[in-house]
């Protein structure tokens, strides 16, 4: 029999206790309460030297109980001879995780990583199972367990060297937490768990920078039997500063001169604090005067770099003054303010606050990226074709002249969007002309109290911004007057909203390439409260976006992120992406985005006639190159980095692990504990019986109160 915790056997010495108590017991005497001892002559106590113990059976039971308890605590087990099928020596299963994120581009790190990984895999025994994974955003196997097993033991080193030589760090940011989980699952997912017992290890070869993302580890329960050994690669140069593009300030247009804002971040380990940021041309030549930036180690500064005179030159901003240049360039796509126009067919004056124009003009966006101008047109006059073509949208509130209506219909057929919001039933002729349905009649309706929007189609882009239940309450908008029109009279009309009485409120009709949006109540105060509600401006924005494309500022992307295609024009056909190095990649029809941006630079996305330039930069987290705090991995639930142990200690630990496994399978302590309880019960019964037997002889009874 073997013991897992033999020092508990010392507890068996506690049997001395009962022996002493049994010996001490001899000198104790009965006690009798008596009223007064004044007449009682004291008897000389006779010492009785008895060599034998009283109640030897009780003593024996007590000693046995203590002994069993001590043996139980020592965790006994029977060690079996190893079965024929089991490997004689400990076999390991290990995964080597090598970091290939952008920060590994720093000088010397990749060579060091390769040599460390090779050394680890060379040290693996012939029976060991190993896999080599590279990780940045995701972990992918470079050599899988199957490949490792398939390769002859002598050729494994060469295989590792070849595969590593063919790999290099990319531009992606690293998700260390995800990579560790992938490796742990690769170790845990097979039935190898039983076969390998506790000998499962992950070797992490990484620069372990502070920017590594570990948060996914928080939700993962790290398997207890998987050990993690960290091979942290020291950076050759301590100074590193990174450059990131910062979103434009809301008041950017109020600045004296246009500028691009960038953040300069200096790593905590840096020894220098002075850097320069400036524009660079295609061949790396400096454009304009660079600006000096002072950033103490561990801090960051946001600086505004003045824009160049020619926006076409503004492509790259370069930081200089640090040792590592992988994160020193940001690619910029300067935003250019767009000027759109919308046509308005109405007779009212611009400052008539009872009429629709007054409100529409104020709802049109005017921001650093986009300015929309309202062009008022007389309802009966013809519009110059260029102006009509240039306009993104046309609003009609008053009856149009027949020629103008025909002109607008023609524009609609060619792809124009018209929003028709009649202020009276007299405009039914115009509607008939626009839709080429002469018999249409509009009827003025005036509800007894007021009407409300009832049924709204939140799937449509016009109402999509309000789909969230927080914003979907339209009941606060009271409608005093509206125009009644049966949806059935217009073939192909889609009702987007209805009044609470059931009459259509907003309809969309496809006309050729374009469409007509029919709003059957005005937003002017005489008709409804729509213009003064919080829904009006988002609705106008949605209309513009639907007609002319995104009104937001262009987004910036990190390497590896999905870049959405601008499909606002309604194109569904194939698209192309031109990468920074000039390669063109085709995207299939229906694709909504591009996920293959693996290098920083400016990508040109073309969908139909629309082309967008998108800047893709190295993720900001890659610039945080100071080493990760030592306890950070443990804080997120992974085992802390372990120093490589000596083989003797390893073998001892292995043997201990095996022993504890055998012990936990046999669980002899349970039987011993049960036996202890049985002995204690017997002891109690015996003690009770003995006490009762003696108690019966005590006479007479004394009753102290």
């Amino acid at each position: 029999m073997n013991f897992l915790a033999p020092f508990f056997l010392v507890g068996a010495l506690a049997v001395i206790g009962p022996v002493i108590f049994h010996l001490v017991r001899r000198s104790t005497r009965e006690r009798t309460i008596f009223s007064s001892v004044m007449f009682l002559p004291p008897t000389r106590s006779r010492l009785t030297h008895r060599s034998r113990l009283e109640h030897w059976l009780l003593l024996l039971l007590r000693c046995v109980a203590l002994g069993l308890l001590a043996i139980g605590f020592a965790r006994p087990f029977w060690r079996k001879a190893p079965a024929a099928g089991e490997p004689a020596s400990a076999v390991r299963r290990l995964v080597v995780l090598v970091d290939v994120s952008a920060s590994m581009r720093r000088a010397g790190l990749w060579d060091e990583a390769k040599s460390r990984a090779e050394a680890i895999l060379r040290a693996a025994g012939p029976g060991d199972e190993a896999a080599l994974y590279l990780f940045s955003r995701q972990a992918r196997p470079l050599i899988s367990f199957e490949e490792w097993k398939a390769a002859p033991a002598g050729e494994r080193g060469a295989l590792v060297a070849t595969r590593l030589a063919a790999s290099a760090p990319g531009w992606l940011d690293d998700r260390l937490g995800d990579a560790l989980i992938t490796a742990a699952e690769a170790l845990a997912d097979t039935d190898a768990e039983k076969k390998f017992g506790g000998a499962r290890q992950i070797f992490l070869v990484s620069d372990l920078k502070a920017g590594s993302r570990l948060d996914s580890l928080q939700a993962y329960e790290w398997p207890k039997t998987i050990a993690l050994q960290v091979e942290a690669l020291p950076a050759r140069h301590p100074t590193n500063a990174g450059l990131q593009l910062v979103a434009e300030a809301a008041d950017a247009d109020r600045l004296a001169a246009p500028a691009i804002r960038v953040r300069v971040r200096n790593a905590a380990t840096s020894t220098r604090e002075q850097f320069r940021v400036g524009w660079a041309g295609p061949a790396g030549a400096a454009l304009g005067a660079p600006i000096d930036v002072y950033v103490p180690p561990g801090q960051s500064r946001v600086v505004a770099v003045p824009a160049l005179g020619n926006p076409a030159d503004m492509r790259e901003l370069v930081l200089s003054g640090d040792d590592e240049d992988f994160d020193n360039t940001v690619f910029v796509v300067p935003t250019q303010k767009q000027h759109w126009s919308v046509l308005y067919f109405g007779t009212e004056a611009a400052d008539d606050s009872r009429r629709p124009r007054f409100f529409l003009e104020r709802a049109l966006p005017d921001n650093p990226h986009l300015a929309v101008r309202l062009v008022a047109c007389a309802p009966a006059a013809l519009i110059p074709p260029a102006q009509l073509q240039e306009a993104k949208l046309a609003f009609v509130t008053d009856p149009l002249g027949a020629a103008t209506a025909a002109q607008l219909r023609g524009a609609m057929l060619a792809g124009q969007t018209v929003c028709f919001a009649p202020t009276g039933a007299a405009a039914d002729g115009t509607l008939g002309a626009l839709l080429n349905l002469p018999g249409l009649t509009l009827v003025d309706a005036q509800p007894a109290d007021y009407a409300m929007f009832g049924e709204i189609d939140f799937q449509h882009p016009l109402f999509a911004p309000f789909a969230d239940p927080h914003y979907s309450d339209f009941t606060k908008i009271h409608i005093w007057k509206y125009r009644r029109l049966s949806a059935a009279t217009i073939p192909g009309a889609r009702v987007l909203a209805r009044f609470d009485g059931g009459d259509p409120a907003v309809m969309e009709v496809r006309v050729g390439q374009g469409r007509l949006l029919l709003l059957l109540t005005g937003w002017n105060p005489d008709d409804s409260q729509l213009a003064v509600s919080s829904k009006f401006v988002p609705m106008v924005s949605a209309l513009l976006e639907q007609a002319g494309g995104s009104t937001d500022a262009p987004a910036q992307f990190a390497v590896g992120e999905a870049i959405p295609l601008d499909r606002s024009g309604g194109e569904e056909g194939p698209a192309t992406v031109r990468e920074p190095d000039g390669t063109t990649i085709g995207l299939p029809a229906g694709a909504t985005g591009f996920t293959g941006a693996l290098q920083p630079g400016i990508y040109l996305m073309t969908s139909g006639t629309r082309s967008t330039r998108v800047a893709v930069n190295v993720a900001a987290s890659e610039s945080r190159t100071e080493p990760l705090a030592a306890d950070e991995l443990e804080r997120y639930g992974a085992p802390g980095p372990q120093a490589p142990a000596d083989p003797a200690a390893n073998a001892r630990r292995q043997a201990l692990l095996q022993d504890s496994e055998v012990e936990s399978r046999q669980k002899l302590w349970r039987w011993l504990l049960g036996a202890t309880l049985g002995v204690l019960l017997l002891e109690s019964a015996l003690a009770g019986w003995t006490t009762r037997g003696r108690g019966a002889t005590v006479t007479p009874r004394s009753t102290p109160t």
Binding site: R29, E30, R31, T32, I33, F34, S35, S36, V37, M38, F39, L40, P41, P42, T43, S45, T697, V698, T699, P700, R701, S702, T703, P704, T705
Partner: protein
């Protein structure tokens, strides 16, 4: 104990076993049981009208309040009689009851203290029925409670409550309560002294003398447990004194020969002191029925006071 019990006419009557009696929880009920059983036995005996002091009517003498004249008796007999009221009495009896820790010893399932309290309650109840005033003084090493002698509604209940209090105190002082009683009670009366007298008795005689000198008629009841007289234990053990908590290792077999004469000598000394002063002494064993003790008490009263009026019938 005197041999009077053997001659007692109560012998034929059904006596209540003290063990059964003391298992009754209420002290008042116990006293009532004893007294009523005693009355029943009495009626079958030739000893009618045992009483301490009893009168219903007294012949009018000049100076008496004419308010109390019984005019109906006058109408029948043409004599003036003064009507006595229930709360008017001539006898004042004080019960001196030891409640020290030594009284909490008992070998028969009840303690000496319980027995003495029942005896005191029985006397009090008997006297109360007679219309006599009863007072109480309990003590251990000091006086614990004092109730002046009264005969009024609720007094008996108060007295019972005081008697029911458990024994306390670490020693017994036999002289202090007597001295206190002499100062508290100026009018002469009857004093019944109930104790085990298991304490030094050097000054007992002096203090009892003070009582008799005050004109009190004193009766001493020495209440002892049978085990205290015979030491029937068979195992050597540590004997612990109830009062002083002193422990002495005693082998009863060896100590008995020495102990029994000593305790008998002590009792004899108490008895001698009493006899010297003309005080009635009764050694009561707790195994003895309470009626006998009551009977002894009344017998003695009868013997001692032949000149006093003894009513021919009791009032219940």
């Amino acid at each position: 104990m005197s041999d009077l019990a053997h001659r007692s006419p109560l012998q034929s009557a059904a006596l209540i076993d003290p063990r059964a009696l003391l298992s009754v929880r209420s002290l008042e009920l116990r006293a009532r049981l004893v007294v009523e059983g005693f009355w029943k036995g009495l009626h079958r005996s030739p000893y009618h009208g045992f009483s301490v002091e009893f009168t219903e009517y007294r012949q009018y003498s000049p100076g008496d309040d004419p308010r109390y004249l019984d005019w109906r008796v006058y109408a029948r007999s043409d004599r003036y009689f003064i009507k006595k009221f229930e709360d008017e009495t001539n006898l004042r009896c004080h019960l001196l009851v030891d409640q020290s820790r030594s009284m909490s010893f008992g070998s028969a399932g009840y303690t000496k203290g319980q027995y003495a309290a029942t005896l005191a309650a029985t006397l009090a109840y008997f006297l109360h029925l007679q219309g006599d005033a009863t007072g109480l003084l309990t003590f251990d090493e000091a006086v614990r409670e004092y109730l002046p002698a009264r005969h009024r509604a609720g007094h008996l209940r108060q007295l019972m409550l005081a008697l029911e209090k458990p024994a306390g105190g670490r020693s017994t002082d036999l002289t202090e309560p007597v001295g206190r009683l002499t100062t508290l009670v100026r009018k002469r009366g009857l004093v019944a002294y109930l104790s085990d007298f298991l304490a030094p008795i050097e000054r007992l005689e002096t203090s009892l003398l003070a009582l008799t000198a005050c004109g009190h008629e004193v009766t001493v009841f020495q209440v002892l447990d049978p085990a205290e007289l015979t030491l029937p234990f068979d195992q050597a053990a540590m004997f612990e004194d109830l009062e002083s908590a002193e422990r002495v290792y005693i082998d009863p077999a060896a100590a008995r020969a020495d102990y029994v004469p000593k305790i008998e000598a002590h009792c004899a000394a108490v008895r001698a002191s009493c006899q010297k002063l003309g005080i009635g002494y009764h050694r009561i064993s707790t195994a003895q029925p309470l009626e006998l003790a009551l009977f002894e008490f009344l017998q003695e009263r009868r013997r001692r006071g032949p000149g006093r009026p003894v009513a021919g019938k009791g009032r219940r």
